[in-house]
């Protein structure tokens, strides 16, 4: 198991390095310059000083090496747009809200999604199955920019059950988390249902039945564990998606999250901010996938073993 974890860890570092490098050079290909319209009005001498200040006068490979060195020390640079704020500060400031919202909606989505999927599979081809899958179908087809305003308007503005926006007490968490989890619930429910159905037709389920086990016991100790494996695989990317926050939900409910910062930085060509946030997103994704791989190893003994050799 330790060897398995170590190997995954090394893969993780390599992937991260490739992403940093690719982002750095791809961003240099973007048209325009980071000083915006101001640059045209500035005298060339001042612009030169600015470029020197940010190290932009040096060859790109030197910029790259310097940047890598900083990243390795956890320094993602200073924003071009707001020279008083470092990228790390921005992340520190806006990420907690995104993270909290993401985790809450993820927990909610996993519980509801899996239960819905299991329920549908056990009631296969009956009314329960059809209604569960109908809910899931809506969840997949209706985008969050429809669900979020609808929830905010109906439950918040019209019926005054919950606050329509802002980010203060726990009651402010419910609606955005709900809106954010909607699509995830649908995806998880459908995956879990398909996976359960596949497992239920396998030979060892018949073996379990031939032992005289009750349906409840067969489901809980034979089917769930095997059916959940493929779902765990997609849980990683899904979690990252949810945690890094979808811009729409954050802006509809006025949540001060990271999604908003990311979009602003791209429109203003804030080099350090874009690379910094991309690396941050990528790092989360890769770390979560790393954790997923380890979780997978715990659930499936076959994977655990192959790492041992």
């Amino acid at each position: 198991m330790l060897k398995y974890v170590l190997r995954r860890f090394v893969y993780m570092l390599i992937t991260l390095w490739v992403i940093i490098t690719a982002t750095f050079f791809l961003m240099k290909l973007l048209p325009g310059n980071p000083f915006g319209e101001v640059a045209a009005k500035l005298p060339p001498e001042n612009l030169k000083i600015l470029r020197e200040q940010y190290g932009l006068d040096k060859p790109e490979w030197q910029q790259y090496l310097k940047y890598i060195g900083h990243v390795a020390q956890g320094d993602l640079g200073v924003s071009y747009q707001f020279p008083t704020r470092s990228v790390v500060d921005v992340i520190k400031q806006s990420f907690p809200a995104s993270l909290e919202l993401g985790i809450e909606s993820l927990i909610f989505a996993v519980i509801v999604g899996l239960l819905l999927g299991i329920f549908a599979a056990l009631k296969h081809n009956k009314a329960g199955d059809y209604s569960a899958m109908f809910i899931a179908l809506i969840g997949i087809s209706v985008p969050s920019f429809v669900v979020a305003p609808l929830l905010s308007y109906l439950l918040g503005n019209k019926w005054h059950i919950l606050p329509a926006g802002l980010w203060q007490g726990p009651e402010h968490r419910i609606l955005p988390a709900l809106a954010l989890s909607f699509g995830t619930i649908a995806i998880l429910a459908r995956m879990m249902r398909a996976s359960m159905l596949e497992v239920s037709s396998l030979d060892y389920i018949k073996t379990a039945k031939s032992k005289g086990l009750t349906t409840w016991k067969i489901v809980t100790s034979h089917m769930l564990r095997n059916a959940i494996l493929p779902v765990i695989t997609i849980l990683g990317p899904i979690a990252v998606n949810v945690i890094t926050g979808t811009l729409v939900v954050e802006s509809v409910f006025s949540v001060p999250g990271l999604g908003y910062q990311f979009v602003t930085s791209i429109t203003t060509l804030d080099y350090t901010m874009i690379t910094g946030l991309t690396i941050f997103y990528a790092a989360i994704l890769i770390i979560v996938m790393f954790l997923t791989d380890i979780a997978y190893g715990f659930v499936d003994p076959r994977i655990r073993m192959s790492g041992r050799r």
């Binding site: 396998l202 030979d203 060892y204 018949k206 073996t207 379990a208 039945k209 031939s210 032992k211 005289g212 086990l213 009750t214 349906t215 016991k217 100790s221 034979h222 564990r225 095997n226 659930v299 499936d300 003994p301 076959r302 073993m305």
Partner: protein, 343 residues
């Protein structure tokens, strides 16, 4: 003869599909006595496995239905076709055990071997977890596995196919069932392992005096183990008899065909291996007369019109074929005595 453990009477099982009803089993009757090994033979799709799994009610309803008039009387007291699902849970595993065909897929990959065996024990007997595990280890020793204690902590993927089938056998024996159903227990195994598994089954049968229904299409396995044989074709029993009846005095042309298609050591290698021409009939719409008539070289006019009843050869031996009728023409049995009994 001792008391019957299982009496199957006019068992009919159908699958309701979108395209119609598949009559997989069409009126099968047989009895199994205590301590006896009964082999059910026939080619793929003849209803052997459906019959066996229906005895344990393992095929989900829908799509399968046991038709009215069918009776499966177990141990003289349980009418299997009428038991509720929760009553069945006490029959399965405790009174009947089942060995499946493919040991690679019939064990749960995410559970240790010991957990899978002890699970059934804990369901049916009031024992602690540790006692059940100990019993699991004892069972693994019984089926000839060394280091049984260690084996209980292993996962199926750490064992070879033959080992897994031994685990499967241990699992089916967990609660000392009165009836063991072995559904093609050797089909998925290497030939050398097949022999070991058959030896093991035979040894266990002698030790525990369990009654066994052995489903197979391998006549070699039948000759090794069975006391009595029923031959199935297209969902019906076409011939039944003792092992000697079937191998040395077969009466049904389908049985002749089966025996002739066993390869022989002393046959000339220029001779092609015999086979029965054609394929079994479509059970969506079974033929009116004898189901085998279309493939039978001796088919007469009546065969295509009326399905034959069983004609008794002796008390134990009967064959459902019009050739057995007193007015039918004499046909010389084209099978040499004892062909196919290689073992």
């Amino acid at each position: 003869m001792s008391k019957p453990i299982l009496e199957v009477n006019n068992l009919r099982v159908s699958f309701k599909m979108y395209a119609g009803e598949v009559q997989a089993v069409r009126g099968v009757s047989f009895t199994l006595n205590k301590g006896e090994v009964l082999a059910i033979v026939g080619e793929s799709g003849c209803g052997k496995s459906v019959t066996a799994q229906t005895i344990m009610r393992l095929i989900p309803t829908p799509p399968s239905y046991i038709k009215p008039g069918s009776s499966i009387l177990f141990d003289g007291k349980h009418e299997i076709t009428k038991l509720t699902e929760s009553q069945m849970e006490h029959v399965r595993g405790e009174e009947m055990g089942m060995i499946f065909q493919d040991p690679m897929t019939s064990l749960n990959p995410t559970m240790t071997v010991g957990a899978q065996i002890s699970e059934g024990i804990r369901k049916h007997q009031k024992v602690t977890k540790a006692e059940a595990m100990q019993r699991a280890a004892d069972l693994l020793t019984l089926v000839g596995m060394s280091n049984a204690q260690e084996r209980t902590r292993q996962y199926p993927h750490e064992l070879s196919g033959g080992m897994r089938q031994r685990v499967m056998i241990a699992l089916s024996l967990a609660c000392n069932p009165k009836l063991l159903i072995a559904d093609e227990p050797t089909t998925a195994l290497d030939v050398t392992i097949q022999a070991q598994i058959i030896d093991l089954l035979r040894e266990i049968q002698k030790k525990t005096d369990t009654s066994i229904i052995l489903i197979t299409h391998d006549l070699g396995v039948v000759a090794e183990m069975a006391h009595r044989v029923i031959v199935m074709y297209a969902g019906k029993v076409v011939e039944r008899g003792t092992l000697n009846d079937i191998f040395y005095n077969p009466k049904h042309p389908y049985t002749w065909g089966l025996l002739r298609s066993v390869p022989r050591l002393d046959s000339d290698r220029n001779n092609d291996l015999e086979s029965i021409p054609g394929t079994p009939p479509d059970l969506f719409a079974p033929p009116v007369g004898c189901a085998f008539a279309a493939r039978c070289p001796y088919a007469m006019k009546i065969c295509k019109e009326v399905d034959p009843e069983h004609f008794d050869v002796s008390a134990e031996h009967s064959s459902a074929c019009w050739l057995m009728h007193p007015e039918a023409p004499k046909v010389e049995m084209p099978v040499q005595a004892g062909r196919g009994s290689h073992g």
